[in-house]
Amino acid sequence: MDSSDVKVLGAWPSPFVMRPRIALNIKSVTYEFLQEGLGSKSELLLQSNPVHKKIPVLIHAQKPICESLIIVQYIDEVWSSGPTLLPSDPYDRAVARFWAAYVDDKWFPCLRGIAKAQGKETREEAIEQVKEGLVLLEGAFEKCSKGKGYFGGEKIGYLDIAVGSFLGWIRATEKMNGVKLLDEAKTPGLVGWAERFCANSAVKEVMPETEKLAEFAKILQAKFKAPPPN
Protein backbone atom coordinates (compact mmCIF):
# COMPACT_ATOMS: atom_id res chain seq x y z
CA MET A 1 0.00 0.00 0.00
CA ASP A 2 1.39 3.40 -0.95
CA SER A 3 1.20 5.24 2.35
CA SER A 4 2.71 8.46 1.01
CA ASP A 5 -0.77 8.93 -0.36
CA VAL A 6 -2.36 9.24 3.08
CA LYS A 7 -3.30 12.60 4.55
CA VAL A 8 -5.22 13.54 7.67
CA LEU A 9 -6.90 16.94 7.74
CA GLY A 10 -7.35 18.09 11.29
CA ALA A 11 -6.22 20.11 14.26
CA TRP A 12 -4.13 19.05 17.27
CA PRO A 13 -6.68 19.84 20.02
CA SER A 14 -9.52 17.82 18.49
CA PRO A 15 -10.24 14.45 20.09
CA PHE A 16 -11.99 13.37 16.90
CA VAL A 17 -8.87 14.08 14.85
CA MET A 18 -6.79 11.98 17.25
CA ARG A 19 -8.77 8.89 16.37
CA PRO A 20 -7.60 8.31 12.79
CA ARG A 21 -4.05 9.29 13.82
CA ILE A 22 -3.96 6.64 16.54
CA ALA A 23 -5.43 4.09 14.15
CA LEU A 24 -2.84 4.86 11.48
CA ASN A 25 -0.07 4.65 14.08
CA ILE A 26 -1.27 1.23 15.22
CA LYS A 27 -1.18 0.07 11.62
CA SER A 28 2.28 1.66 11.13
CA VAL A 29 1.00 3.75 8.25
CA THR A 30 2.83 7.01 7.64
CA TYR A 31 0.69 9.99 6.76
CA GLU A 32 0.85 13.71 6.27
CA PHE A 33 -0.93 15.75 8.94
CA LEU A 34 -2.44 18.91 7.48
CA GLN A 35 -3.58 21.28 10.20
CA GLU A 36 -6.53 23.59 9.88
CA GLY A 37 -6.24 27.00 11.49
CA LEU A 38 -8.67 27.92 14.29
CA GLY A 39 -11.73 29.64 12.91
CA SER A 40 -10.88 29.06 9.26
CA LYS A 41 -11.60 26.24 6.85
CA SER A 42 -9.21 25.45 4.04
CA GLU A 43 -10.26 24.91 0.42
CA LEU A 44 -9.16 21.31 0.74
CA LEU A 45 -11.42 20.75 3.74
CA LEU A 46 -14.42 22.36 2.04
CA GLN A 47 -13.82 20.25 -1.06
CA SER A 48 -13.24 17.01 0.83
CA ASN A 49 -16.12 17.35 3.25
CA PRO A 50 -18.70 19.54 1.53
CA VAL A 51 -21.57 18.03 3.53
CA HIS A 52 -20.32 18.78 7.06
CA LYS A 53 -17.22 20.94 6.48
CA LYS A 54 -15.66 19.33 9.55
CA ILE A 55 -12.43 17.68 10.59
CA PRO A 56 -11.10 15.02 10.62
CA VAL A 57 -11.00 13.98 6.99
CA LEU A 58 -8.80 11.15 5.81
CA ILE A 59 -7.63 11.51 2.23
CA HIS A 60 -6.40 8.20 0.84
CA ALA A 61 -5.32 7.97 -2.79
CA GLN A 62 -7.12 11.28 -3.31
CA LYS A 63 -10.43 9.91 -1.97
CA PRO A 64 -11.90 11.59 1.13
CA ILE A 65 -13.37 9.67 4.03
CA CYS A 66 -15.24 11.63 6.72
CA GLU A 67 -16.54 11.12 10.27
CA SER A 68 -13.90 9.94 12.75
CA LEU A 69 -15.37 6.55 13.67
CA ILE A 70 -16.12 5.75 10.04
CA ILE A 71 -12.50 6.66 9.23
CA VAL A 72 -11.20 4.31 11.95
CA GLN A 73 -13.26 1.44 10.52
CA TYR A 74 -12.01 2.26 7.04
CA ILE A 75 -8.40 2.20 8.26
CA ASP A 76 -9.04 -1.18 9.91
CA GLU A 77 -10.47 -2.61 6.71
CA VAL A 78 -7.92 -1.22 4.25
CA TRP A 79 -4.77 -2.01 6.24
CA SER A 80 -6.04 -5.43 7.17
CA SER A 81 -2.60 -7.01 7.62
CA GLY A 82 -1.86 -4.82 10.64
CA PRO A 83 -3.23 -5.39 14.18
CA THR A 84 -7.04 -5.45 14.02
CA LEU A 85 -9.00 -2.65 15.64
CA LEU A 86 -12.54 -3.98 15.67
CA PRO A 87 -13.28 -7.20 17.56
CA SER A 88 -13.65 -10.24 15.35
CA ASP A 89 -16.78 -11.56 17.06
CA PRO A 90 -19.94 -9.90 15.66
CA TYR A 91 -21.52 -9.46 19.08
CA ASP A 92 -18.37 -7.92 20.60
CA ARG A 93 -18.20 -5.69 17.56
CA ALA A 94 -21.79 -4.54 18.09
CA VAL A 95 -21.03 -3.81 21.75
CA ALA A 96 -17.97 -1.75 20.78
CA ARG A 97 -19.98 0.20 18.20
CA PHE A 98 -22.74 0.81 20.73
CA TRP A 99 -20.42 2.31 23.32
CA ALA A 100 -18.55 4.40 20.75
CA ALA A 101 -21.86 5.88 19.61
CA TYR A 102 -22.86 6.44 23.25
CA VAL A 103 -19.65 8.33 23.96
CA ASP A 104 -20.13 10.61 20.95
CA ASP A 105 -23.89 11.13 21.11
CA LYS A 106 -24.65 11.13 24.82
CA TRP A 107 -21.49 11.54 26.90
CA PHE A 108 -19.39 14.07 24.98
CA PRO A 109 -22.16 16.73 24.91
CA CYS A 110 -22.13 16.55 28.73
CA LEU A 111 -18.36 17.10 28.81
CA ARG A 112 -18.74 20.05 26.49
CA GLY A 113 -21.59 21.22 28.69
CA ILE A 114 -19.15 21.84 31.55
CA ALA A 115 -17.27 24.44 29.50
CA LYS A 116 -20.48 26.00 28.20
CA ALA A 117 -22.20 26.18 31.60
CA GLN A 118 -23.13 29.71 32.55
CA GLY A 119 -23.54 29.37 36.30
CA LYS A 120 -22.14 27.31 39.18
CA GLU A 121 -25.25 25.13 39.44
CA THR A 122 -25.37 24.32 35.73
CA ARG A 123 -21.67 23.51 35.79
CA GLU A 124 -22.07 21.16 38.74
CA GLU A 125 -24.98 19.41 37.05
CA ALA A 126 -22.91 18.93 33.93
CA ILE A 127 -20.04 17.57 36.01
CA GLU A 128 -22.39 15.09 37.66
CA GLN A 129 -23.66 13.91 34.29
CA VAL A 130 -20.12 13.39 33.04
CA LYS A 131 -19.28 11.37 36.14
CA GLU A 132 -22.41 9.24 35.78
CA GLY A 133 -21.50 8.54 32.18
CA LEU A 134 -18.01 7.49 33.24
CA VAL A 135 -19.50 5.03 35.71
CA LEU A 136 -21.42 3.48 32.80
CA LEU A 137 -18.19 3.35 30.81
CA GLU A 138 -16.51 1.64 33.77
CA GLY A 139 -19.13 -1.08 33.43
CA ALA A 140 -18.47 -1.27 29.72
CA PHE A 141 -14.75 -1.54 30.39
CA GLU A 142 -15.25 -4.44 32.77
CA LYS A 143 -17.44 -6.23 30.24
CA CYS A 144 -15.36 -5.58 27.13
CA SER A 145 -11.84 -5.97 28.54
CA LYS A 146 -12.61 -9.46 29.89
CA GLY A 147 -9.96 -8.99 32.54
CA LYS A 148 -7.33 -7.59 30.21
CA GLY A 149 -5.90 -4.07 29.96
CA TYR A 150 -7.94 -2.46 27.20
CA PHE A 151 -11.53 -2.27 25.97
CA GLY A 152 -10.15 -4.25 23.05
CA GLY A 153 -8.68 -6.89 25.36
CA GLU A 154 -4.92 -7.45 25.11
CA LYS A 155 -4.39 -4.52 22.80
CA ILE A 156 -5.89 -1.15 21.89
CA GLY A 157 -9.00 -1.44 19.76
CA TYR A 158 -11.80 0.61 18.28
CA LEU A 159 -13.49 1.42 21.57
CA ASP A 160 -10.21 2.33 23.29
CA ILE A 161 -9.61 4.82 20.51
CA ALA A 162 -13.17 6.17 20.68
CA VAL A 163 -13.12 6.76 24.44
CA GLY A 164 -9.41 7.39 24.93
CA SER A 165 -9.34 10.27 22.48
CA PHE A 166 -11.24 12.28 25.10
CA LEU A 167 -8.67 11.75 27.86
CA GLY A 168 -6.76 14.94 27.08
CA TRP A 169 -9.95 16.98 27.45
CA ILE A 170 -11.02 15.04 30.54
CA ARG A 171 -7.73 15.94 32.21
CA ALA A 172 -7.89 19.55 31.04
CA THR A 173 -11.45 19.84 32.36
CA GLU A 174 -10.37 18.36 35.71
CA LYS A 175 -7.58 20.89 35.95
CA MET A 176 -9.66 23.92 34.91
CA ASN A 177 -12.55 23.10 37.24
CA GLY A 178 -10.65 21.62 40.16
CA VAL A 179 -12.60 18.35 40.01
CA LYS A 180 -11.79 14.71 39.60
CA LEU A 181 -13.81 13.09 36.84
CA LEU A 182 -11.97 9.78 36.75
CA ASP A 183 -11.40 8.55 40.27
CA GLU A 184 -10.06 5.43 41.95
CA ALA A 185 -13.20 4.89 43.99
CA LYS A 186 -15.87 4.99 41.28
CA THR A 187 -13.93 4.16 38.12
CA PRO A 188 -10.82 2.18 39.12
CA GLY A 189 -10.71 0.19 35.88
CA LEU A 190 -10.80 3.34 33.77
CA VAL A 191 -8.09 5.01 35.87
CA GLY A 192 -5.68 2.15 35.18
CA TRP A 193 -6.75 1.98 31.54
CA ALA A 194 -6.23 5.74 31.06
CA GLU A 195 -2.60 5.47 32.19
CA ARG A 196 -2.00 2.51 29.91
CA PHE A 197 -3.69 4.15 26.94
CA CYS A 198 -1.85 7.46 27.20
CA ALA A 199 1.50 5.69 27.61
CA ASN A 200 0.95 3.57 24.50
CA SER A 201 3.37 4.37 21.67
CA ALA A 202 0.55 4.82 19.15
CA VAL A 203 -1.09 7.42 21.38
CA LYS A 204 1.71 9.31 23.14
CA GLU A 205 2.75 11.59 20.31
CA VAL A 206 -0.78 12.62 19.33
CA MET A 207 -2.27 13.10 22.81
CA PRO A 208 -2.07 16.85 23.53
CA GLU A 209 -0.58 17.96 26.85
CA THR A 210 -3.11 18.94 29.48
CA GLU A 211 -1.47 22.38 29.93
CA LYS A 212 -1.68 23.17 26.23
CA LEU A 213 -5.32 22.11 26.08
CA ALA A 214 -6.22 24.22 29.10
CA GLU A 215 -4.60 27.25 27.44
CA PHE A 216 -6.41 26.50 24.21
CA ALA A 217 -9.70 26.16 26.09
CA LYS A 218 -9.21 29.66 27.53
CA ILE A 219 -8.73 31.05 24.02
CA LEU A 220 -11.90 29.26 22.87
CA GLN A 221 -13.92 30.50 25.83
CA ALA A 222 -12.81 34.06 25.19
CA LYS A 223 -13.93 33.65 21.62
CA PHE A 224 -17.38 32.40 22.64
CA LYS A 225 -17.87 34.95 25.36
CA ALA A 226 -16.88 37.90 23.15
CA PRO A 227 -19.91 39.77 21.78
CA PRO A 228 -20.66 38.72 18.21
CA PRO A 229 -19.61 41.24 15.54
CA ASN A 230 -22.57 43.23 14.16
Binding site: V51, H52, H60, K63, I65, C66, E67, I70, I71, Q73, Y74, E77, V78, P90, Y91, R93, A94, R97, F98, A101, Y102, K106, L136
Partner: protein, 223 residues
Protein backbone atom coordinates in the same frame (compact mmCIF):
# COMPACT_ATOMS: atom_id res chain seq x y z
CA UNK B 1 -25.86 -22.45 13.55
CA UNK B 2 -28.12 -24.32 15.94
CA UNK B 3 -30.78 -22.63 18.05
CA UNK B 4 -31.13 -19.40 16.11
CA UNK B 5 -33.48 -17.61 18.45
CA UNK B 6 -34.03 -14.19 16.88
CA UNK B 7 -36.46 -11.69 18.37
CA UNK B 8 -37.09 -8.13 17.26
CA UNK B 9 -38.55 -5.59 19.68
CA UNK B 10 -40.11 -2.73 17.76
CA UNK B 11 -43.23 -0.58 17.43
CA UNK B 12 -45.86 -0.62 14.70
CA UNK B 13 -44.71 2.73 13.33
CA UNK B 14 -41.03 3.24 13.95
CA UNK B 15 -38.97 3.47 10.76
CA UNK B 16 -35.89 2.43 12.76
CA UNK B 17 -37.60 -0.82 13.66
CA UNK B 18 -38.72 -1.32 10.08
CA UNK B 19 -35.15 -1.25 8.81
CA UNK B 20 -34.41 -4.34 10.84
CA UNK B 21 -37.50 -6.10 9.46
CA UNK B 22 -36.24 -5.40 5.93
CA UNK B 23 -32.72 -6.66 6.68
CA UNK B 24 -33.95 -9.85 8.32
CA UNK B 25 -36.39 -10.56 5.48
CA UNK B 26 -33.78 -9.79 2.85
CA UNK B 27 -31.49 -12.41 4.35
CA UNK B 28 -34.32 -14.88 4.87
CA UNK B 29 -33.84 -14.98 8.64
CA UNK B 30 -36.68 -16.37 10.76
CA UNK B 31 -37.57 -14.16 13.68
CA UNK B 32 -40.27 -13.33 16.19
CA UNK B 33 -41.67 -9.80 16.58
CA UNK B 34 -42.40 -8.24 19.95
CA UNK B 35 -44.44 -5.09 19.52
CA UNK B 36 -43.78 -2.48 22.19
CA UNK B 37 -45.96 0.34 23.41
CA UNK B 38 -43.51 3.13 24.20
CA UNK B 39 -45.88 4.75 26.68
CA UNK B 40 -45.74 1.51 28.63
CA UNK B 41 -42.37 -0.12 28.02
CA UNK B 42 -42.04 -3.80 28.78
CA UNK B 43 -39.82 -5.16 31.50
CA UNK B 44 -37.79 -6.97 28.89
CA UNK B 45 -37.15 -3.87 26.81
CA UNK B 46 -35.85 -2.01 29.85
CA UNK B 47 -33.68 -4.99 30.71
CA UNK B 48 -32.22 -5.32 27.22
CA UNK B 49 -31.71 -1.60 26.58
CA UNK B 50 -31.22 -0.04 30.00
CA UNK B 51 -29.26 2.95 28.74
CA UNK B 52 -31.48 4.24 25.96
CA UNK B 53 -34.71 2.34 26.72
CA UNK B 54 -35.54 2.45 23.02
CA UNK B 55 -36.49 0.19 20.18
CA UNK B 56 -35.40 -1.52 18.05
CA UNK B 57 -33.68 -4.22 20.04
CA UNK B 58 -32.54 -7.41 18.37
CA UNK B 59 -32.22 -10.40 20.62
CA UNK B 60 -30.05 -13.17 19.21
CA UNK B 61 -29.64 -16.30 21.28
CA UNK B 62 -30.41 -14.27 24.38
CA UNK B 63 -27.96 -11.45 23.65
CA UNK B 64 -29.37 -7.98 22.97
CA UNK B 65 -28.06 -5.67 20.26
CA UNK B 66 -29.34 -2.09 20.18
CA UNK B 67 -29.16 1.01 17.93
CA UNK B 68 -30.58 0.29 14.49
CA UNK B 69 -27.46 0.95 12.42
CA UNK B 70 -25.38 -1.18 14.81
CA UNK B 71 -28.00 -3.92 14.49
CA UNK B 72 -27.82 -3.76 10.68
CA UNK B 73 -24.05 -4.24 10.78
CA UNK B 74 -24.45 -7.08 13.28
CA UNK B 75 -26.94 -8.83 11.01
CA UNK B 76 -24.56 -8.45 8.06
CA UNK B 77 -21.62 -9.80 10.09
CA UNK B 78 -23.56 -12.75 11.47
CA UNK B 79 -25.58 -13.93 8.44
CA UNK B 80 -23.28 -13.58 5.50
CA UNK B 81 -25.70 -14.50 2.71
CA UNK B 82 -26.95 -11.57 0.61
CA UNK B 83 -24.49 -8.96 1.94
CA UNK B 84 -26.02 -5.59 2.78
CA UNK B 85 -22.83 -3.54 3.03
CA UNK B 86 -20.58 -3.19 -0.03
CA UNK B 87 -17.34 -5.20 -0.12
CA UNK B 88 -14.99 -2.34 -0.99
CA UNK B 89 -13.76 -0.40 2.10
CA UNK B 90 -14.23 3.01 0.46
CA UNK B 91 -17.78 2.13 -0.60
CA UNK B 92 -18.47 0.83 2.90
CA UNK B 93 -17.25 4.10 4.41
CA UNK B 94 -19.47 6.03 2.00
CA UNK B 95 -22.45 3.81 2.88
CA UNK B 96 -21.93 4.37 6.62
CA UNK B 97 -21.53 8.10 6.02
CA UNK B 98 -24.79 8.35 4.08
CA UNK B 99 -26.74 6.33 6.64
CA UNK B 100 -25.54 8.62 9.43
CA UNK B 101 -26.24 11.68 7.30
CA UNK B 102 -29.78 10.42 6.71
CA UNK B 103 -30.44 9.85 10.40
CA UNK B 104 -28.94 13.11 11.55
CA UNK B 105 -28.83 16.02 9.14
CA UNK B 106 -31.50 14.92 6.68
CA UNK B 107 -34.05 13.73 9.24
CA UNK B 108 -33.74 16.85 11.34
CA UNK B 109 -34.15 19.13 8.31
CA UNK B 110 -37.26 17.24 7.15
CA UNK B 111 -38.63 17.36 10.68
CA UNK B 112 -38.08 21.12 10.79
CA UNK B 113 -40.16 21.54 7.65
CA UNK B 114 -42.92 19.53 9.33
CA UNK B 115 -43.06 21.39 12.64
CA UNK B 116 -42.25 24.96 11.63
CA UNK B 117 -44.44 27.56 9.97
CA UNK B 118 -44.10 30.69 7.87
CA UNK B 119 -40.64 32.06 7.21
CA UNK B 120 -38.98 29.44 9.43
CA UNK B 121 -40.59 26.71 7.37
CA UNK B 122 -39.37 28.31 4.14
CA UNK B 123 -35.82 28.29 5.49
CA UNK B 124 -36.21 24.72 6.63
CA UNK B 125 -37.33 23.71 3.15
CA UNK B 126 -34.17 25.29 1.72
CA UNK B 127 -32.03 23.20 4.07
CA UNK B 128 -34.00 20.05 3.33
CA UNK B 129 -33.50 20.58 -0.40
CA UNK B 130 -29.76 20.97 0.07
CA UNK B 131 -29.64 17.71 1.96
CA UNK B 132 -31.85 15.91 -0.56
CA UNK B 133 -29.55 17.12 -3.36
CA UNK B 134 -26.78 15.04 -1.84
CA UNK B 135 -28.89 11.90 -2.19
CA UNK B 136 -29.89 12.90 -5.72
CA UNK B 137 -26.18 13.19 -6.66
CA UNK B 138 -25.42 9.84 -5.09
CA UNK B 139 -28.03 8.11 -7.26
CA UNK B 140 -26.46 9.17 -10.58
CA UNK B 141 -26.11 6.08 -12.75
CA UNK B 142 -27.73 3.83 -10.16
CA UNK B 143 -31.16 2.32 -9.62
CA UNK B 144 -30.63 1.79 -5.91
CA UNK B 145 -27.98 3.27 -3.62
CA UNK B 146 -26.67 -0.29 -3.40
CA UNK B 147 -26.48 -0.60 -7.19
CA UNK B 148 -28.78 -3.07 -8.93
CA UNK B 149 -30.21 -4.40 -5.70
CA UNK B 150 -30.99 -2.80 -2.36
CA UNK B 151 -28.26 -2.52 0.24
CA UNK B 152 -27.33 -0.82 3.50
CA UNK B 153 -27.98 2.74 2.34
CA UNK B 154 -31.33 1.88 0.77
CA UNK B 155 -32.40 0.21 3.99
CA UNK B 156 -31.05 3.08 6.09
CA UNK B 157 -32.76 5.75 3.96
CA UNK B 158 -35.94 3.74 3.46
CA UNK B 159 -37.69 5.79 6.14
CA UNK B 160 -37.86 8.66 3.63
CA UNK B 161 -40.04 6.64 1.30
CA UNK B 162 -42.90 6.28 3.72
CA UNK B 163 -42.49 9.03 6.26
CA UNK B 164 -41.86 11.99 3.96
CA UNK B 165 -45.06 11.23 2.02
CA UNK B 166 -47.05 11.13 5.26
CA UNK B 167 -45.60 14.45 6.45
CA UNK B 168 -46.14 16.06 3.03
CA UNK B 169 -49.77 14.99 3.11
CA UNK B 170 -50.32 16.58 6.50
CA UNK B 171 -48.64 19.90 5.77
CA UNK B 172 -49.97 19.92 2.19
CA UNK B 173 -46.57 20.72 0.81
CA UNK B 174 -44.38 18.69 -1.53
CA UNK B 175 -40.79 18.56 -0.31
CA UNK B 176 -39.43 15.91 -2.68
CA UNK B 177 -40.78 17.10 -6.01
CA UNK B 178 -40.10 15.25 -9.22
CA UNK B 179 -38.67 18.21 -11.08
CA UNK B 180 -35.97 18.88 -8.54
CA UNK B 181 -35.32 15.27 -7.55
CA UNK B 182 -36.13 12.95 -10.47
CA UNK B 183 -33.67 10.23 -9.46
CA UNK B 184 -34.74 10.28 -5.83
CA UNK B 185 -38.41 10.04 -6.81
CA UNK B 186 -37.65 7.11 -9.09
CA UNK B 187 -35.70 5.45 -6.29
CA UNK B 188 -38.57 5.93 -3.87
CA UNK B 189 -40.91 4.20 -6.32
CA UNK B 190 -38.48 1.36 -7.04
CA UNK B 191 -37.74 0.85 -3.35
CA UNK B 192 -41.42 0.80 -2.43
CA UNK B 193 -42.01 -1.82 -5.16
CA UNK B 194 -39.52 -4.30 -3.72
CA UNK B 195 -41.60 -7.13 -2.28
CA UNK B 196 -40.11 -7.27 1.19
CA UNK B 197 -40.63 -3.54 1.48
CA UNK B 198 -44.14 -3.12 0.17
CA UNK B 199 -45.57 -5.85 2.36
CA UNK B 200 -44.40 -4.16 5.53
CA UNK B 201 -45.45 -0.51 5.53
CA UNK B 202 -47.33 0.65 8.61
CA UNK B 203 -51.04 1.42 7.98
CA UNK B 204 -51.42 4.77 6.21
CA UNK B 205 -54.37 6.16 8.17
CA UNK B 206 -52.83 5.25 11.50
CA UNK B 207 -49.63 7.07 10.50
CA UNK B 208 -51.55 10.19 9.45
CA UNK B 209 -53.43 10.24 12.76
CA UNK B 210 -50.22 9.74 14.72
CA UNK B 211 -48.29 12.55 13.06
CA UNK B 212 -51.25 14.93 13.08
CA UNK B 213 -51.29 14.50 16.84
CA UNK B 214 -47.51 15.05 17.04
CA UNK B 215 -47.82 18.29 15.07
CA UNK B 216 -50.61 19.75 17.27
CA UNK B 217 -48.45 21.31 20.00
CA UNK B 218 -46.22 22.99 17.40
CA UNK B 219 -49.24 24.62 15.75
CA UNK B 220 -50.62 25.71 19.11
CA UNK B 221 -47.26 27.27 19.92
CA UNK B 222 -47.35 29.68 16.96
CA UNK B 223 -49.49 32.78 16.98
Amino acid sequence: MANEEVKLFRTWSSPFGLRIVWALKLKGIEYETVLEDLSNKSHLLLQYNPIHKKIPVLLHNGKPIVESLVILEYIDNTWEQIPILPQDPYERARARFLAKFGDEKLLSSIWSVFVKQGKEQEEAIGSAWENLKILEEELKGKKFFGGDTIGFVDIALGWTVNLIGILEEIIELKIVDEEKFPLLCAWMQDFADVSIIKDNWPPHDKMIAKFLAIREPYLAGSK
